[in-house]
């Protein structure tokens, strides 16, 4: 077992225990929302390590959310063991199809092409009155093994534990993937595509694979967000501002570790909450200012602070063990 896996397991177990026994309900629901978003950020992290940033992952986020909501509304399927995998699957399929086009582009073209596709879905949803247009519609009561509950605390606790388990699994999966040969190609692709081709790997296929993975994670994230909010609408699920938030959290968190998206996302959520509370007229200023400060002073994101704190306690660590700190 490598130390990241142990760290993740301890961390998620700690959060889950704290959530169930200590934390107040409002903080649990913030963690629920933050961790849902973090799943999508985890996907963006994979792309970012490849040197790609997408301004359009709200496409997959929204597809996931609407898949969960529409399965309940139109087919009466509320079982989360069906709806959540379906959310990931739909997003992955669309990601796979669009990937054939998108994998040819890099840098700003990659970012903007994603944005364009996401705004197409946004436009369609806004024009669809049957889906409530911009008002959206509510998500049916979710069930697990056919059991649903009206009690708000029970429901919150169940969803909270659910996101802890899924977040833990997803983080470990992505971590393992990044350690595999294909995963290790991420940085290689970013650094020099031609050399990667000479090594006998297809850059296009490597990027395609990562793209589908990030799409599936974003779809799963959207599905969970739909359950957490109980409501889907284009503005808060598919609009470019959602993509912007995902990129914001990616930059805030830093690409250093698969744990970073979860911490960054929670900080982002709490930051907005306190900005809302303290300066209701200029909360955007606080949020934007924080991002600027992070970019200026912490180019490695929040994770660089944590890894520094973790590393400082034993300065004699061999450099090999500190590879993540330096990113």
């Amino acid at each position: 077992m490598d130390r990241t896996v142990i760290g993740l397991t301890v961390g998620f177990a700690l959060v889950a225990l704290l959530g169930v026994f200590v934390l107040p309900d409002w903080l649990m629901s913030q963690i629920l929302i933050a961790f849902s978003r973090a799943l999508a950020v985890l996907g963006l992290l994979v792309l970012w390590r490849t040197g790609l940033i997408s301004f359009g992952h709200a496409l997959y986020f929204g597809l996931g959310a609407y898949t969960v909501a529409m399965l309940g509304k139109d087919l009466g399927i509320t079982e989360v063991l069906i709806t959540l995998p379906a959310a990931g699957l739909v997003a992955a399929l669309v990601g796979f199809a669009l990937g054939f086009i998108i994998r040819k582009y890099r840098e700003i073209f990659f970012a903007m092409l994603n944005l364009a596709f996401s705004m197409v879905l946004f436009g369609i949803l806004v024009k669809t009155e049957a889906l409530g247009s911009t008002d959206g519609f509510s998500v049916e009561q979710p069930t697990l093994f056919g059991i649903g509950t009206d009690d708000s605390t029970t429901k919150l606790t169940a969803l909270f534990l659910g996101i802890c388990v899924i977040g833990w699994l997803a983080a470990i999966f992505v971590h393992r993937y990044l350690r595999s040969i294909l995963g290790n190609l991420t940085t290689a692709v970013r650094d020099n595509e031609i050399r990667v081709e000479y090594l006998g790997y297809s850059v296009a296929e490597a990027i395609h694979g990562k793209y589908v993975m990030s799409a599936a994670l974003a779809g799963l994230a959207g599905g969970f967000m739909a359950l957490a909010l109980g409501q889907v609408d284009p503005e808060s699920m598919v609009n470019w501002t959602v993509s912007g938030e995902l990129v914001f959290v990616t930059v805030l968190a830093g690409p250093g570790s698969v744990a970073a998206p979860f911490i960054g996302s929670l900080v982002f959520e709490l930051l907005r909450t306190y900005a809302f509370e303290l300066v209701p007229y200029a909360w955007q200023l606080i949020v934007g200012g924080t991002l600027l400060a992070v970019i200026f002073f912490l180019p490695g994101g929040l994770w660089s602070v944590i890894s520094k704190l973790g590393g400082r306690s034993r300065p004699s660590d061999p450099p090999a063990n500190r590879e993540e700190a330096g990113r």
Binding site: L18, D135, F276, R314
Partner: protein, 435 residues
């Protein structure tokens, strides 16, 4: 093991977060704390959020001092001082749902009042039920809130958006009976689509001979440029144009259409034109018909009742301008809550609990600042009021915007009865409407 230290760092961080986030002390019993939600930033802040917040602030101040006109001159909510926290409605529904939770679970407010956007209302209504918190919606229009599901904790103290468009159709029939065809320009989002649907359905029932254009315009919301839409409408044979534009889009449309002679060529009915009437002043062209989502704002400026006179005078003294629709609508939601607290306290003989307040608010009938309000629909949770339209006429002598041919439509004429949904009612030809 280094990973354990990482976990330790994370744990310490989380502990810090918890310490930081420790809930505020519960408000003392002599205070009722309200969360008031309105757009404080973004495009809806100017036309809705800020006047709404002002109206709420002014009335809360008067309630705490006991200076509201009779019969509401008692101090506070059932004697308790009202403390208000203002929250921005922008940031999307995700943000609104978590802010709602924060207001209730973290900041411990007793009730939440506000919301302009139908999207926010639809998103928070189920959460309000889940968290069992009294929620009084002040402005949002969608009839779905109470037609979709019965609500126990959610109330709305003004008519929903159906009334705007049914009243518009009645006004067109009464004032422009020769209209042979009509079209519309509405923003392409839920509000605009619903408005056009309700208006065209109501017109089909009320003026079956008037033809609906097959080219109603649906520009993107916040587009700001309407040159091609104005050309398309000008080329359309339809004599009448319906629009539910508001805020910056409304003003941009008026300013871009006026120099093209659009308003001398077409008859125009603007369902929420009243919202921007004071801002535009002389630039709002003579002869257009405007509404203000009910008996509010410029439509009731000359209504001479003690409550309305007090409202207009105090608002002008405090903020230096006439109160627009949202100021009335937020004030009305606060007033309704005060009356419910007072009534519940009287019935209980002591300070009422949350359930008693809800019972008092259910089915409540009261005289608001401009007109009577009846909580008649949605099992007594959805208000109905009369509705008004008038035609703009610049008053040269007074140097301010005036209205002529103001018509009042009773609530029973423009709002559906309790046992049917809005769309079904209009489609059925509005049976039982008393006009």
């Amino acid at each position: 093991m280094k990973s354990l230290r990482y976990a330790g760092v994370l744990g310490a961080g989380l502990a810090g977060v918890i310490a930081l986030a420790a809930p505020m002390p519960v408000a003392a019993k002599d205070t009722v704390s309200l969360g008031i939600v309105a757009f404080l930033s973004g495009p809806a802040a100017g036309p809705y959020g800020v006047p709404g917040r002002n109206g709420a602030e002014m009335v809360i101040d008067a309630i705490n001092k006991g200076t509201l006109p009779a019969p509401y001159g008692t101090k506070g909510f059932a004697g308790a001082t009202v403390a208000a926290e203002y929250i921005d409605e922008s940031g999307g529904n995700t943000k609104q749902v978590s802010e709602y939770r924060n207001l209730v679970q973290k900041r411990g407010v007793d009730a939440i009042i506000g919301y302009v956007s139908s999207g926010s209302c639809a998103a928070v209504a189920p959460v309000a039920e889940e968290l069992q918190t009294l929620t009084v919606m002040s402005v949002c229009g969608t009839p779905r809130i109470f037609e979709e599901a019965p609500r126990e904790y959610v109330f709305r103290t003004m008519s929903h958006a159906t009334a705007d468009n049914i009243a518009a159709a009645h006004y067109v029939k009464e004032m422009m009976p020769d209209v042979k065809s009509y079209t519309g320009i509405n923003q392409n989002y839920a509000w605009g689509q619903d408005s056009w649907r309700d208006f065209s359905l109501a017109m089909t029932g009320l003026m079956p001979d008037a033809k609906v254009s097959d080219k109603p315009q649906f520009p993107k919301i916040f587009a700001g440029q309407y040159g091609s839409e104005i050309s398309a409408l000008s080329l359309d044979d339809a004599e009448l144009v319906h629009s539910s534009f508001w805020g910056g889009d409304f003003e941009a449309f008026i300013l871009q259409a006026t120099p093209r002679g659009f308003f001398s060529q077409k008859k125009v009915v603007l369902t929420v034109g009243g919202v921007s009437a004071y801002r535009l002043g002389k630039r709002l062209p003579d002869g257009v018909a405007i509404g203000s989502r009910g008996p509010y704002g410029i439509l009731v400026r000359d209504r001479d009742t003690p409550l309305n006179t007090w409202f207009i005078k105090t608002y002008r003294d405090t903020y230096g301008e006439y109160p627009s629709g949202a100021a009335y609508q937020y004030a009305q939601a606060i007033l309704a809550t005060k009356i419910a607290y007072d009534k519940a306290a009287e019935a209980a003989g002591s300070f009422p609990n949350e359930k008693q307040v809800r019972e008092a608010l259910t089915g409540l009938e009261f005289e608001s600042f401009a007109a009577p309000v009846k909580m008649a629909l949605g099992n007594g949770h959805q208000a109905v009021t009369e509705h008004m339209y008038g035609i703009v006429q610049w008053d040269e002598a007074a140097g301010e915007l005036g209205l002529r041919d103001v018509k009042v439509y009773p609530a029973e004429c423009v709002m559906p009865p309790a046992d049917t949904t809005s769309v079904e009612w209009i489609e059925a030809g509005m049976p039982g409407a008393k006009c």
